[in-house]
Each structure stands twice: as C-alpha cells, then as structure tokens.
Amino acid sequence: MSFIEYGDTIKDGDTAIVFLGHESMFPVKVQHGTVTQTKYGVIRHSMDLIGKKYGSKVTCSKGGWVFILHPTPELWTMNLPHRTQILYSTDISIITMMLELKPGSIVCESGTGSGSLSHALIRTVAPTGHLYTVEFHQQRAEKAREEFQEHGVEHLVTVTNQDVCKNGFGVSDIADAVFLDIPSPWEAIGHAKSALKAEGGRICSFSPCIEQVQRTCLALEEYGFTEINTLEILPRVYNVRTISLQIPDLGKAAENDSSIGFDSSSLSNQGSPCTNLQGSVQFKSGVPVREMVGHTGYLTFATKS
C-alpha cells in the first residue's frame, strides 16, 4: 500500500485503518509480532492482518470484529494525530478544485501543520507533481517528514523548516499553485507570487477571521493578482432515520381506521407507509446531526496571470 496507490493485501509496514464503527476508527502501523488493543479485543498483526485483503472483517480475541481499511488521505484526515488545528475534507475538496490541481502540478504549501492537506495534495499531484511544504515549527516539520516516509510518498514532497513570511518557499518560478494557512498570510503574498511560475498560477489562503481576509485581499491586489474571490463552504451531514409521528385523536370513531382523515401514502416519502394500530405514521428522513460545523475559515482564491 501507499497513500497514492491502492494495494490488495495488507503488508508488513503498511499504515492501515482499523474501523470499529461509525466515526470510530484509528490508524495502525502493521508490524510482524505486534498486537493492537481494541474494545473488541486484541488484533495480532502477524496472524490477523498481514496477507489479508484490505476491506476484510477481522475477528478480535473477544469475538467482536473490525474492518481493516486501505488508507486514503480522507481516512487519514479523520484519524491523524493532531499537532495543530487541521483542514477537513470539505475545505480540502474545494481547495483542490479551485487551485486546479491534477497529476503533474507543482504546489507550495505553508504551514505543513499536521499534514492533513499535505496528504491530499500529494495524492492529487502524484505521480509526476511535487509538493513543497514549509513549516516554521521544527518538531512539526520533522514529524511530517517521518510520516511522509512511512506513507511511501517522500519522493513527492519536500519539507522545509523555515518562516515562509521571512524566507518564502525556498523555490521560485516553479509552482502552479500556492496554499497558505498561516496567521498572517498577507506577509507571504510576495513570496507566493515569486514561487508561482512566471506564466501564472493559482493561490489560496485560508483564514478563520474576516480581518485576516481583508488584509490578504489588499495584499493580493497590491501584488497584481486577479480573480480575487472569497468563499466559505459548509458541510451538512444527515442521519438517515425512520421517524414515527403519532396521529392525534380527534375523537373519530375508533372502528374505522381508514377514515382517519388523510391518505397515508401521500404522507410517506418512501411509498411504503406504515400506519400501525395506535395510529402513527412512519417515514424515512434525513435528519441534520445535532451539531454541525458552522465555520472553519474563509477561503480566498486568486490568479496570477
């Protein structure tokens, strides 16, 4: 396996995702002779994992089972060890499309942070593109390097430990796209411009606060960027539920159930209405989850041309 190429079977050294149930999973490094504890019991890597097919059901020592999944940047984003606040897949998706990334693209990124976006970028630009990522925090930079190596993508990424606002990306006239997720992106716009190819490219800056966006937009204009556009994307997730609503008792004659006063089939959206004896109606609904992401950050895009 690697994060950029699917494999069929689990091998020694792979990073796999142990899936216990909805929103309950964790990454595991597969190693001969190692065991992993889950709430369903122990998984022995040599016997339970290595050589098995990705997507298999693995029975743990207590009889419970888990699924072992092939790693993807999206699963990694949901499970990676946080060293910083991270970007999630909803934002990552629009960033990737609006920066026009594809195989062969050269991308500059800062900061590397926990590498959530980095993995997605590398996946998209592989096998011929490259990611230059800059992280001013030394320990984080080193940790990111380690992870890229473990995940078999180190040949597609260069991690540089420096301050992007002072020293830039360490490359010039090379990038098709630049991404900034730093506290003062306006200080890095000049460096971003020189990192981008002379013939042009795209830039994106992620900021939680509108004041940051404002300063960034001014800087972008000052440096001659065009097509400056700020947007925000919000994910809405729905739980699929069977809902049962009781029919009020209006004192109608009890023996004539069918004359309750409505056509139950028109009330049910699945065409399989279910009116029970007590007089309630069943239907399927997509119920918004109780608490949702209300804001992650503003995304400002622009073009160098």
């Binding site: 699917y6 098709d176 925000e232 539920r241």
Partner: protein, 483 residues
C-alpha cells in the same frame, strides 16, 4: 506530465473559455468566425498565439487587442460627499442623453473614455460618498468597457460555467458538490474507476483531469452512446482517451449473469450479418440519433464545438479536388472504414467487459438523472473491497432509500449522506459581507466504503448498524412494523 504546461498559447482548434467578470462561455478557437458573448461580437483570430489568461479589449470591427496594464483613471483630487441626505432622484443627474451615448459609441470611442464622460456629466457624482462613487464607476465600466479574458478550460471553470449557464444539463450538480465527489472518491492517477453520469460528460471530464491519463476509466452509459459534450471542452490530449472505456448499462445484467459474451462477441471481424445483429437493428440507431439531437438542441457549448468540427471537415472536403472524382472508390472505402471502426468498437467493448469482470475497480462515481438505488446496487458488484463510492442525486429522498437498501445489502461501511453550502463574500475595505445571493441547492451526496461482502446472513446486523442507526428499542419497533 502528459498535459501541457500552464500558460500555454492559444492555438487554432483549441477549446477555450471566454470570461467576462463571472460569466464564462466555452468556444472553439477558429479563424474568421464571429463569436457572440455578453452582447458583444468579435473574432478570435488575433487571440491565436497569445498566452491563456490574456485579457483582450474588443476594438472596432470585432478585433481583439491585448489590454495593456491597467492605466488607472487617475481621478483628480478626490471629492466626495458623506451621506445622501441631499441627493434627490429627479432623473436628470446625467446630462448625456441616450443618443449622446450612442453617438459616442458609434464614433468608436473607447469604453474607458465613455465612462469618464459619464462621470463628468453626472451632476450628483461629486456628492456621492466615496463608496458610492466606486460602485458607480464599477457599474459603468462593466457596461462600457468591452474586456474579455480567454482562459484555459479546467474542471473549476467548466463546472462553474455549466452550473451558471446550463444547470439542467448537469442535474444541478454545483461545482463545490463535484469537488466533494472527486475527493470523497479518492480520484487520483492510477485508479481503475467506474463512472456513471448523465451530466453531459462534465463529471467524466473532472475524473479524467484528476487521473491525468494514468489508470483507466469505464464509463457506463444509458441509451445508444455516452454523452461527452462537456468532456470535449476540456481539450484533453489524445492519450487520455486510450484508457477511457465505455459500456452500455443495458448490457450490465447480461455481463453479471455471464450471458454477455455469447450474445455480442462476433466470430469474424468482417462478418456483416453479425455486425448488424450486434447493433440491434434499427432500434439502437434510432436511440442514438434521438439522443444526439436532444443533446445538441440543449447543450449550447457542445453545439458550438461540434458545429465547428463539422465546418472544419467541410472546409477540408471542399478543398479536396479529387473528392468528386473518386467518389465511387471512396464509397467502397467508406464502407470498409465503417466496418473497421465497428470492429474496433466491438473489440474495445470486449476489453471493457473483461475489465469489469475482474470486479476490482477502485471506486464508483454516480451522478445521473436516474434513480440511484438500482445503479449503485449493481455497479458495486464491480468494485474491490476497501474502496470509496460516491452517489450524487439532485434530491435527497432517493438517497434515503439508497442508504437503506445498501444497509440491507451489506458490504459497505461509513455511509454518509451530506450536502455542502457555499457562500461567496464581497471583501472590500469597510464593506465586507456575504454576497446577497447564494445558491439554494447543489444536490446531495451519499458516500461510503466497500468491504468484503459477508455471505453469512447473520452478519447483516453488522456492528455499524448497531452503533449508528436508531436506538435499539426503536429499531425493534420498526422491524415489527415492517412485517
């Protein structure tokens, strides 16, 4: 990379996208062809040879001339009011009449100068606040400065364009939703993807762009042939199409039941009888032409391009002097050519069937006008375990059913029903706020991951169901009710 570098030059025959402010239009780049865009007409001849991303001014006679660096109109000592308490709308603040303005335009005066004259002849301009002056200038510029930018097509541009111009053609799939699909589906170089779409080929094009010519794509299509009007607009290099396969939806069942090959594989490539049989006689052909006309009448973009190609073909034919002389010979050759093409198509169909039979695809993307449930339940058969799938639907209800049916089937985990909201902002000093309008809906997605399908029925109450669905007491009640 197989794709050309950024900043490549505009060539004759390219598919380019015209851009004015937020409005896009895809057009073929051809000489001596009048283009109408945003109430302006012009020729693209002069654009050929310039770098994509160049902004042009439309000059008299419909010529394009690269716009030099913005020579900002230095509005002299700025004078502005603080509020509008004394500004009265008497309809007489503009001293220039419609006829005056028309006369200016007819004289071929540059838009920039017209705007300047409008400002000078506006009695209220100086009393307007600085912000209001800004807004006034922007509005007039938009109207009188004939400026267009020619950009290279990309998923970003084409999906934005389609959503704005022809949302019906792409089942109202908004561009941010398409972006989610590509990410949730882990689309990348080297994949073996199954794509089933009726979005004019836009989703296919997006997947092709992300795969960069590496790996393979099998497009499942309804009717006579796949629709790729939007795919053409991307201008992909030829090799991208070598690993693009297509398979008719109507043959999926026979493929799964194992009767496919017997029905369609001909013994001899030149065998006419078999060839005819394979094309299913008239019915199939009718379907093709019907679909073609339908597609053409609506997809303006595709029409533009296919018309251009026809035109080109005609031009070539007209120049060919020998054409008439050799018509007889050519007819025979045409027949042979047709047979050869037919045979090649069939050969590729057999290859495609073989690819599907391996049942090891790296994912499925569905975005169509059809009910998603039967599509997904069938297409998942061809996917390897531990691979993502994404289904788009303009409506939420069919996805609720699809969700339930997938749970019953098993072999999938991490099911998620979602949508995204997209909000655009105006960012200006002291005037930042969300844009006044936002899109009401860009469709819904159901995504998940395949796992090894357990044949043991006892497993159908898999762990995730227990964790995620309704509380167990309620579940019991539901099950009781269902019987």
């Amino acid at each position: 990379a197989m794709e050309g570098p950024r900043g490549v030059r505009i060539r004759e025959g390219d598919c380019a996208v015209l851009k004015r402010d937020e409005v896009f239009k895809a057009v073929p780049v051809l000489r001596h062809r009048k283009i109408v865009f945003e109430k302006q007409w012009f020729y693209l001849d002069n654009a050929i040879g310039h770098i994509y991303g160049t902004t042009f001014e439309v000059t008299s006679g419909g010529n394009l001339q690269p716009k030099r660096e913005v020579e900002e109109v230095t509005t002299e000592t700025k004078e502005a009011g603080t509020d509008n308490r004394n500004i009265v709308d008497d309809g007489k603040s503009q001293r220039l009449t419609h006829d005056d303005i028309k006369a200016l335009k007819d004289k071929g005066i540059k838009g920039q100068e017209i705007v300047q004259q409008l400002i000078e002849n506006s009695t209220t301009f100086r009393d307007k606040t600085e912000f209001a002056q800004d807004k006034y200038i922007k509005k007039k510029k938009k109207k009188y400065e004939a400026v267009i930018t020619i950009v290279k097509p990309s998923t970003r541009i084409l999906s934005t364009m389609y959503y704005a111009r022809e949302p019906g053609k792409i089942n109202h799939l908004r561009y941010d939703t398409l972006a989610q699909m590509l990410t949730l589906g882990n689309i990348h170089a080297g994949n073996k993807m199954i794509v089933m779409e009726t979005c004019a080929g836009l989703v296919l094009g997006a997947v092709m762009e992300r795969m960069g010519g590496y790996g393979s794509i099998i497009q499942m299509y309804p009717g006579g042939e796949p629709v790729r009007a939007a795919t053409i607009c991307f201008g992909f290099p030829k090799p991208f199409f070598d690993n693009l396969y297509e398979f008719p939806l109507s043959k999926v069942d026979s493929l799964l039941s194992g009767t496919f090959s017997a029905e369609t594989v001909p013994s001899e490539p030149e065998d006419n009888a078999l060839a005819e049989e394979e094309s299913n006689g008239l019915n199939d052909k009718k379907e093709i032409s019907l679909q073609e006309t339908e597609e053409e009448s609506a997809a303006e973009v595709a029409m533009e391009i296919s018309r251009a190609q026809e035109q080109e073909a005609m031009d070539i034919n007209a120049e060919d002097v020998e054409f008439k002389v050799n018509r007889g010979k050519e007819n025979k050759e045409n027949v042979r050519e047709k047979q050869r093409k037919q045979w090649e198509r069939r050969k590729k169909l057999i290859e495609t069937a073989a690819l599907l039979r391996e049942k090891n695809a790296d994912g499925v993307i569905v975005a169509s006008k059809f009910h998603p449930t039967p599509l997904l339940l069938t297409l998942l058969e061809f996917v390897a375990p531990s691979r993502p799938f994404v289904v788009y639907c303009q409506y939420r209800e069919p996805l609720l059913e699809c969700y339930t049916k997938l749970r019953e089937r098993g072999g999938v985990i991490n099911l998620k029903l979602s949508e995204t909201w997209l909000r655009n902002y105006q960012v200006l000093p002291d005037r930042s706020h969300p844009k006044l309008t936002m899109s009401g809906g860009g469709g819904y997605l159901l995504s998940g991951i395949t796992v090894v399908l357990d044949k043991d029925k006892a497993d159908s109450t898999n762990l995730e169901t227990l964790n995620m669905e309704e509380p167990s007491s309620k579940r019991c009640k539901v099950e009781e009710l269902h019987c």
